[in-house]
Symmetry: C2
Subunit: 165 residues, 2 copies
């Protein structure tokens, strides 16, 4: 039922950073994120997938205007963890759906993915919790993505549609 999803949100001004091939050993994440926290940068999505050959990629998003200071923090971390590559992209935006009923309902994620697929929007990154699914898309597709998701869950017809978290 549509009640599983109560709202959709767009976060437009994010930049994505990827630490490519970091040592997949205890402590590496701490070395990176503690230096970012020291500079008072609030990190939004953090995504790490399963590593390969002792290395893993960690991507995360920060406010677009904090990209430069975040890259400094990562440069510092590399002197401690051992070298790895860093890529970044500030032409991205986050589109999410929220709802309390998600965790128990199979089929919410695929309806969101169907909506994006039909709008020919490529999903660059995915992260989820029990009440929220977030995707990173190209910034110039963000509004089309939000509209597609809104329609898929009939959010405009739902009077209780609350601005999500």
């Amino acid at each position: 039922s549509d009640r599983a999803v109560s709202g959709a949100a767009l976060t437009r001004d994010e930049a994505k950073i990827t630490a490519v091939g970091v040592p997949d050993v205890p402590g590496t994440s701490y070395e990176i994120f503690s230096r970012i926290a020291d500079r008072n940068v609030t990190v939004d999505m953090i995504v790490q997938n399963i590593g390969d050959g002792g290395r893993a990629d960690i991507s995360f998003t920060v406010p677009r205007d904090e990209l430069a200071v975040t890259l400094e923090a990562i440069d510092e971390a590399r002197t401690v963890t051992g070298d790895f590559d860093v890529t970044h992209d500030d032409q991205v935006a986050k589109v999410s759906v929220v709802g309390m009923g998600m965790a128990t309902q199979a089929g919410v994620a695929d309806r969101m993915f169907l909506a994006l697929s039909e709008a020919e929007i490529n999903i660059k990154m995915i992260t989820t919790s029990e009440i929220k699914i977030s995707t990173l898309v190209e910034r110039d597709q963000a509004l089309a993505a939000l509209r597609a998701v809104h329609n898929a869950f009939a959010l405009d017809q739902n009077p209780e549609s609350i601005p999500p978290l």
Copy 2:
């Protein structure tokens, strides 16, 4: 302050599946997750990091006893999307922290990562939302991980520590 984190949780009986090198084009995620939803399997963490060379890896967790039926769903998806590799691991567990104040506080993620690092626990996967940070660890390290995180945020001393979402 500790108030940013109100609880920690352990989900023990999960299996992790990774679709390795899927075509990074609109529709691929839908083809995979719609077939899993058709079999009424509830997916927990979904993690996709930025792709490379037109391919991306998507990992997700399902209840351990639904691993076989999920692998069938993926085999079916492959006939539509084009071939990709599939790996799985049922010796994993999810350890998370929850809290309403996270989104605005730099430093929650790194405190969790420090706690896991000091307990010499390797983080296999990370996914986040504004109110929750989830990590996948080896199942045999799950209790040590939960204890480390509990201590880091002084959760046992916090009378309002509520069972999280």
